[in-house]
Amino acid sequence: MDSILSVKDLNLWYGDHQALRSINVEIPANEITALIGPSGCGKSTFLKTLNRMNDLVPGVRITGEVNFQKRNIYDPAVDVTGLRRRIGMVFQKANPFPMSIYDNVAYGPRTYGVRSRAKLDEIVEKSLQAAAIWEEVKDRLKASALGLSGGQQQRLCIARALAVEPEVLLMDESTSALDPISTSKIEDLAVELKSKYTVVMVTHNMQQAARVSDKTAFFLLGEMVEFGGTEQMFSAPTDKRTEDYITGRFG
């Protein structure tokens, strides 16, 4: 197994509160890893440590390592902007910029210095196709992104994340605000994307984790209780706390 992210003894505090406790995990490349657990268990916090989104939170303190392709991303010499280009993120609520569909997708590449119109056209089309929304928007690229439906906006955000050619895509409950049809489209999309990208997703929906992920991690009270193959985890978990949670007998 080739791991793209190697996490070693990771601890995180928000002020005095320890939100992550000694996390050790190897996240495999070109697979979908799902992070599950009850609210407040640390799964979203953990996801955000993978591209240093927690740097923005005041009072946060982190110890341990997150090695991305063998380099610790918490090394002071790391360029955080460059890191987030390589490890992109899609959030719970679609957050298109108030500009055209085209400009939303072209925003990242422009920021990174792509100026050629032809090149931008190519990136926009490729990204929208990869996010399975090209057919729906190709005739209205200049229209405002805010006019799209929730599911379309979320796929546009995925296209925007893909436009800067990341290696890892972090998805933070990216379908929780969507109807079942849009959810299904994004789940199919995630499965397609894994041939080129590594996907790590936080989900409150255990069925979703079972449907799409290759590996599942169960978090509880800041601890990663169990990590393993999704089928193994959902058919014969090794820890009783995992069993209680996934069978709905928690607490």
Binding site: D188, V191, A210, R211, F234
Partner: protein
């Protein structure tokens, strides 16, 4: 939408077709081994039976994986649970074909067998197995129902064979042992017909949501 799930359901169909084809091979080889006294064909039937057992566990694994991962509902749930039931019947069909192949070694003279309707039973049951699996894959309710109807013909053939065996003993009492072997063979074919009917009934359940009480 649910592209991956649909692909896996398609794979389930392909594996069931393969398992059905193996059953046909097993029955056909066992029947020929008996009617033509060909020991190599008896071996072929036994090999097919082992392959059917492996196919059963492959399909079972796939069905459990689909239940676990896809949480199917409505027709998808019926289809997968029906497939799980069907493979038990197909596995039994494989066993019975192997049993017939085993008995073929004890039937020294094929000419007595040829004078009965056992060959007709073999042909009729092979067609039932083919049609039962086809009806699942093609979601063809009429074809499934025709399998249930065909079982009446197999039962009638079994009655014919019983009469023929009684006649065989009454004309030559030294053929008692052969008669018992042939009766067992005929009974195995009759059971294969019942299992194919079970398969067809699960197809009917899968398509309509209504299952007849097992015969």
């Amino acid at each position: 939408m649910r592209t991956h799930f649909d692909e896996q359901l398609e794979q389930l169909h392909l594996e069931l077709i393969r398992m059905g084809a193996l059953c046909e091979d097993a029955i056909s080889a066992a029947a020929k081994a008996l009617l033509e006294q060909d020991a190599a064909l008896a071996d072929k039937a036994r090999e097919a039976e082992e392959e059917i057992d492996r196919a059963e566990s492959d399909v079972e694994r796939l069905c459990l994986q689909l239940l676990l991962r896809q949480q199917p509902v409505a027709k998808d749930l019926r289809e997968i649970s029906s497939a799980l039931k069907m493979i038990s019947d197909l596995e039994r069909i494989g066993d019975q074909a192997a049993d017939i192949a085993e008995l073929s070694g004890y039937v020294a003279d094929a000419s007595d067998t040829g004078r009965t309707h056992i060959g007709d039973m073999a042909r009729a049951t092979i067609a039932m197995v083919t049609d039962s699996v086809d009806s699942f894959v093609k979601r063809d309710l009429e074809l499934a129902r025709s399998v249930c109807a065909a079982d009446d013909r197999v039962d009638a053939l079994f009655e014919d064979v019983k009469r023929e065996i009684i006649r065989l003993i009454s004309t030559d009492s030294s053929k008692g042992e052969l008669a018992l072997d042939l009766l067992m063979v005929a009974k195995y074919f009759e059971r294969i017909g019942d299992h194919a009917t079970n398969v067809a009934e699960w197809v009917e359940y899968s398509l309509t949501g209504v299952h007849k009480i097992n015969n």
